[in-house]
Symmetry: C2
Subunit: 352 residues, 2 copies
């Protein structure tokens, strides 16, 4: 069993090599072992490209594969997607044992890959380092388990809990180290969400500095259609990433829709309607960077899974806008503190 | 010079042995060296007892002391206080070189000890690890340089910057590690200050868990005299440390004064009057633990030198009272973050 954990840990490290390139697909790593020797490693390199199992198997001869053991961080798929099913390939390869960390939470897949392997006489062990594998794809896991995206609310506040030094202005609160961190952090999410006020007052790009073919979609909630008066915002014109606008103003759909911008017409004023649409679109994770009004709506609607706060240890003065003020007590779990040269990062999951 | 720093560092370590026992006196350490050998060490052990120089010198014979070098973290005194002047003793001991870290900021002493040594043909070097020595007695140094006490304002807040979950109630916000830390931290100060509201609502003891003969004086600001209706508060009855009450209500002086409790009648409503009295009484440091109203008065009056915040990473809900909300921007310097098993400590000096 210790050997299984050792090789699975290698597979987990291998999986991480695909970070930021697999988009809606999970990170997956694979290791092929025979006679206590690692013969090949592989990982899911890029959305639409080979799965980890195929990547590793393709590096070996039939003789090498015969009677070998495959370690893979996620249950092999058993359906035709962008790639043919990995389970078939494993059976054909005469691999005689498969060790799996996480059973796939995806409804189309769960258990079926394992059943196929077993039906073909392959010994299957599951659950080895399962928790680490789930953490590796925690948004993917959550999305397919709960059928809704993981929502992280972020705020940057001063020591006196202000998000600006004056209402409706943009104030640089945190320092360069936070700026750098947030610009990298965005790449962990499939969408970044702000309110129209933030879009207009801050005119942010909401891009990530991480090199990726799948930058997060920039989402603006603009119920009334204020963006009609602000067509030059970077979000609408920079061509750097898709932008989605959720509105109740039908005029936006005709006026703002283009190659970069997609406008969704809302039937209600509810955030839950937006989340439902995002779910249907397969958006697994959302980073809410809007102002406190939007953040409060997510918190009080019990829609947020995680809070990330960046704290600058200075007072801005009481004229500014307060940060998130939920209506009731909210406990955080798995809290992590991190010091970022002069500023702090506090992250915790919300017990919902 | 490196040797001087080495021995001075030993003296600084020696000085720390007196911590919490020297009261209004500074921590002082001394090391006597001859032919590159440490012959004796000493420190100021207790208020009213031998100074560090005398403690070290008393351990050696006249032969050993002859032509030796004395390292002392603070300029030797040259006046009669509770002890005869150290400068005379050094001269009599035939020590032929004295190395000093910090020149005494105390007006009665500064430079005079050094002058006496030099006048008697002793070589004197000053400023070796001076900054470390000043830090060791930073409240003492500040008090004698500025002629006012060092004032630290402390608050404990939730992630949403609440000091309670409902106005005028006591809420346990932070955890046991903060409780322990605060109870030790108090011993660094000569006084702890709260408002009457905190005294009444929380009924705190405001004691330190550090063993000391000089627990901080507990100060309550009670301008109107509300304590007349609350005579059973721990502060007024527990006999564990002195309590001072600052009031404008003359009735308190007759009603509450006893062995433990001293009542000061204020001429004005100003905090500055209280600080003036504390200065005259030789109180070098004050730890303000009152609620946000009192803390705001200190911050907005530019009376605070340092802020210590304890942060619990949970939301209490907007019904509670906000923490310190100064009227203007306040930058902190020398900021220190410290993680206390699940809670945070943020400390910084206020640029005044």
């Amino acid at each position: 069993m210790e050997k299984d954990q050792y090789y699975m840990n290698l597979a987990l490290q291998e999986a991480k090599k695909g970070r930021f390139q697999t988009w809606k697909n999970p990170l997956v790593g694979a290791v092929i072992v025979k006679n206590d020797q690692v013969l090949a490693t592989g990982h899911h390199i890029h959305y639409g490209k080979s799965h980890a199992e195929r990547d590793a198997i393709s590096k070996l001869t039939p003789e090498q594969l015969f009677n070998s053991t495959l370690y893979v961080t996620l249950e092999p798929c058993n359906h035709y997607g962008k790639q043919p099913p990995c389970s078939d390939l494993i059976v054909q390869s005469k691999i005689n044992r498969v060790v799996i960390a996480q059973v796939d939470p995806h409804k189309l897949v769960t258990g079926k890959g394992i059943a196929k392997l077993k039906a073909n006489g392959i010994a299957v062990t599951t659950g080895v380092l399962a928790h680490a594998a789930e953490e590796l794809n925690r948004f993917y896991t959550y999305f397919y388990q709960k059928n809704q995206p993981w929502i992280t609310v972020k705020q940057a506040v001063s020591l006196d809990y202000r998000v600006n030094d004056q209402v409706n202005t943009r104030t640089a609160i945190t320092n360069q180290s936070v700026y750098d961190r947030v610009h990298r952090e965005r790449a962990n999410y499939q969408a970044i969400l702000v309110g129209s006020n933030t879009a207009i007052v801050d005119n942010p790009s909401l891009l990530t500095t991480i090199s990726t073919d799948y930058p997060p979609i920039r989402i603006v909630i603009d119920r009334r259609g204020r963006l009609l008066q602000h067509r030059n915002l970077k979000l609408l014109t920079d061509g750097q990433a898709p932008t989605w606008i959720f509105t109740r103003n039908a005029e936006l759909q005709n006026s703002l829709t283009n190659e970069q911008v997609k406008v969704w017409l809302m039937k209600t004023d509810q955030l839950s309607e937006i989340i439902q649409t995002l779910t249907e679109e397969g958006i697994q994770s959302v980073y809410v960077e809007g102002g406190p009004t939007l953040a409060n709506a997510f918190m009080n609607g019990e829609l947020a899974n995680e809070l990330i706060e960046y704290l600058s240890p200075h007072f801005l003065g009481k004229a500014g806008t307060a940060g998130i003020l939920p209506s009731y007590k909210i406990m955080l779990k798995n809290v992590k503190f991190e010091q970022l040269s002069g500023n702090l990062r506090i992250a915790g999951e919300i017990d919902v």
